[in-house]
C-alpha cells in the first residue's frame, strides 16, 4: 500500500511539474515521466497488457511526436507568443468548468469496493482479448471504425491543400 502512495505522489508531483515548468521541452519530459508512473500503477493492478500498451503508445509514440513538433518549433521565452489576458481568463473559466463536470461525474459514479477484485487476472492479454472480442465486440469494432475515420480525415487534411492548388492552377 505504501508503494502505491509513493507512486501516486510522484504522479501528482510530475503532473504539476508538467503544468508549471516554463520550458515546453521540459514540460513534455515531465509528462513522459507522469505516463511512466501510470504504467507502474497499471502493473500494480496486475493489468500487464494495459501497462505495456500505455508504455508503447503514450510514452513511445505520442510523446515522441510531441517532442518532435516542439523541437521543430524550437519554442523558448523570446519567441513565445504573448497571450492576451482575455484568453487567459477564458482558459481559466474553461478549466474550472471541466473540473466541475469531472467532480459531478465522479459524485454520480458508484463507489466500487477496491478490496473485491472481480477477476484477478483480467488484465492479462488472453483474458482481456476474450472479453474484448466476446462481450464488448460491438463497441470495440465501432471504436476501430472511429479511429479509421480519424486517420482518413488526417490524411485528407494533409492532402487537401495540394488538391486545391491543382484545381486553381
Amino acid at each position: 500500500m505504501s508503494f502505491f502512495y509513493l507512486v501516486a505522489f510522484l504522479s501528482v508531483i510530475f503532473s504539476l511539474m508538467t503544468i508549471f515548468t516554463k520550458n515546453p521541452v521540459h514540460s513534455v519530459l515531465y509528462l513522459v515521466i507522469t505516463f511512466f508512473t501510470f504504467t507502474v500503477h497499471y502493473i500494480m493492478l496486475n493489468a500487464q497488457f494495459l501497462a505495456v500498451v500505455n508504455f508503447i503508445v503514450y510514452m513511445g509514440a505520442i510523446m515522441v511526436l510531441f517532442l518532435f513538433v516542439l523541437m521543430l518549433l524550437n519554442l523558448n521565452k523570446d519567441t513565445e507568443p504573448m497571450k492576451s489576458p482575455l484568453v487567459k481568463v477564458m482558459g481559466a473559466i474553461a478549466g474550472m468548468c471541466l473540473l466541475a463536470t469531472f467532480l459531478g461525474a465522479f459524485r454520480a459514479l458508484e463507489q466500487s469496493d477496491v478490496l473485491i477484485k472481480p477477476h484477478e487476472n483480467i488484465g492479462l492479454v488472453e483474458n482481456l482479448g476474450k472479453v474484448l472480442f466476446g462481450e464488448f465486440l460491438l463497441p470495440f469494432e465501432l471504436s476501430s471504425i472511429l479511429l479509421l475515420t480519424a486517420m482518413v480525415g488526417a490524411v485528407l487534411l494533409a492532402k487537401h491543400e495540394k488538391g486545391v492548388k491543382k484545381q486553381h492552377g
Binding site: V32, F55, I56, G60, L65, F68, M71, V125
Partner: protein
C-alpha cells in the same frame, strides 16, 4: 528459496550483461575487420595478434579524451541523452531466452532473466524508449546538424516501428503467444522454425530492424556527408563512446531477436535424436544460439558495405508505402491460411 532465486537471477544478469558488453566491444573490431575483408585490405592489426586488443585501446582512448560540453547546450539533457541510450540498449535483452534449463542435482536454472507473458511487447516498449536518448542528445546539443539528426531519428524510428509491429503480428498469429520463451520452445527441431511459415514477415522484420538500429542503409540520423556527424556532432569522449556502444548493443539484441523469433533460437536440427543428456543439449543450444546471433551480426555488417544510404524521401516511401501495406497483406494472408488449415485439415 527466495534468496537462492534472487542470487541465481543476479548471476544470470551479470553474465548476460558482461557477454553483451564484450560482444558490443568486439563488434567494433569485427566491423572494421569485415570492412577490411570486403574492401580487400587488412583492417586493424597493430594492437595484439589480429588487432585483438584494438577495442581496449579504443575504450581507453575514449575515457582519456577531453570531455567538452558546448556552452550553448542544455547541460542536464546533454548528459541524459547517452545515459538513456545505453540503459535502454542494455535492458532490452532481459526477456530473450538464451537456452533451455540446466539441472544440477535438485536445482534447475532457466537461462532467461525474465519470463513474462508479454515479452514481445516489452521489447517494443524498450525500443520505443530508445529514441529518446537520440532525440534529447540531438536537441540539447543546440546545434543545427544535431537537431536535424535527432529529427530524422525520431521520424524514422516511429515510421519503422509500425512496420516492425505489423510484421510481428503475423508471427504472433502463428505462434499464439506473446512470450518469447514460448515462441522459441515451439520451434523445436528444424522444420518448426518460424522462418518457414513467415518468410515475408521475416524480410519486413529485418528491414525494419535495420532502420530501428540506425544501420546502413538507414543511417540517416548520423549521415556524415550531410550532417557533419549527425545527432552526436557535439559529443566527445566517452559520451560519444556510449552512443556508439548502444548502437552495437542494439545490433546484438536485434540479431538475438531475429534468431529467437524466426530461426529457432537455441533449437538446432536433430537435437532430440543425438541421445545426449538434457544439460548437454542446453549447452550446445546456447552455442548454436550465439552462432546464429553472430551470423546475423555479420549480415548487418555485410549489408553496410553492400548497399548505399537511402535518401530521406526514399526512406519514408519505403516505410509507409511499401513495408506497411506489405505487412498488412502478410497478416491477411496468414489469417486466411490459418483459417483454411483449421477448416479443412
Amino acid at each position: 528459496m527466495e534468496t537462492a532465486f534472487l542470487l541465481e537471477k543476479l548471476i544470470l544478469v551479470v553474465v548476460i550483461f558482461t557477454i553483451t558488453l564484450v560482444i558490443a566491444m568486439y563488434s567494433t573490431l569485427a566491423e572494421r575487420k569485415i570492412a577490411g575483408f570486403m574492401q580487400d585490405r587488412h583492417g586493424p592489426d597493430r594492437a595484439g595478434a589480429f588487432g585483438i586488443l584494438q577495442p581496449l585501446c579504443d575504450g581507453g582512448k575514449f575515457f582519456f579524451k577531453e570531455e567538452i560540453i558546448p556552452a550553448g547546450a542544455h547541460k542536464g539533457l546533454f548528459i541524459m541523452g547517452p545515459v538513456i541510450a545505453i540503459i535502454t540498449a542494455c535492458i532490452s535483452s532481459a526477456v530473450i531466452p538464451w537456452g533451455q534449463t540446466l539441472t544440477f542435482g535438485d536445482t534447475t536454472i532457466t537461462l532467461q532473466v525474465a519470463e513474462v507473458n508479454i515479452g514481445v511487447l516489452y521489447i517494443f516498449g524498450v525500443i520505443a524508449l530508445g529514441v529518446y536518448g537520440i532525440m534529447l542528445g540531438g536537441w540539447a546539443s543546440n546545434n543545427k546538424f544535431s537537431l536535424m539528426g535527432a529529427i530524422r531519428a525520431a521520424s524514422q524510428s516511429i515510421s519503422y516501428e509500425i512496420g516492425l509491429g505489423l510484421s510481428l503480428i503475423a508471427l504472433l498469429m502463428v505462434t499464439g503467444t506473446l512470450s518469447i520463451g514460448e515462441i522459441v520452445a515451439q520451434q523445436s527441431g528444424f522444420v518448426n522454425w518460424n522462418i518457414w511459415s513467415q518468410p515475408l514477415g521475416f524480410i519486413i522484420f529485418v528491414t525494419c530492424a535495420f532502420a530501428e538500429c540506425n544501420r546502413v542503409p538507414f543511417d540517416l540520423p548520423e549521415c556524415e556527408t550531410e550532417l557533419v556527424g549527425g545527432y552526436h556532432t557535439e559529443y566527445s569522449s566517452m559520451k560519444l563512446g556510449l552512443y556508439m556502444f548502444s548502437e552495437y548493443i542494439n545490433m546484438f539484441v536485434s540479431s538475438a531477436l531475429m534468431a529467437a523469433l524466426y530461426f529457432g533460437g537455441y533449437n538446432f536440427p536433430f537435437m532430440h535424436d543425438l541421445g545426449l543428456s538434457a544439460n548437454w543439449i542446453t549447452i550446445i543450444g546456447v552455442l548454436v544460439f550465439f552462432s546464429k546471433i553472430f551470423a546475423f551480426i555479420f549480415f548487418f555488417m555485410w549489408i553496410r558495405w553492400t548497399l548505399p544510404r537511402f535518401r530521406y524521401d526514399q526512406l519514408m516511401r519505403l516505410g509507409w508505402k511499401k513495408l506497411i501495406p506489405l505487412a498488412i497483406a502478410n497478416i491477411v494472408l496468414t489469417g486466411v491460411i490459418i483459417l483454411i488449415k483449421d477448416t479443412f485439415f
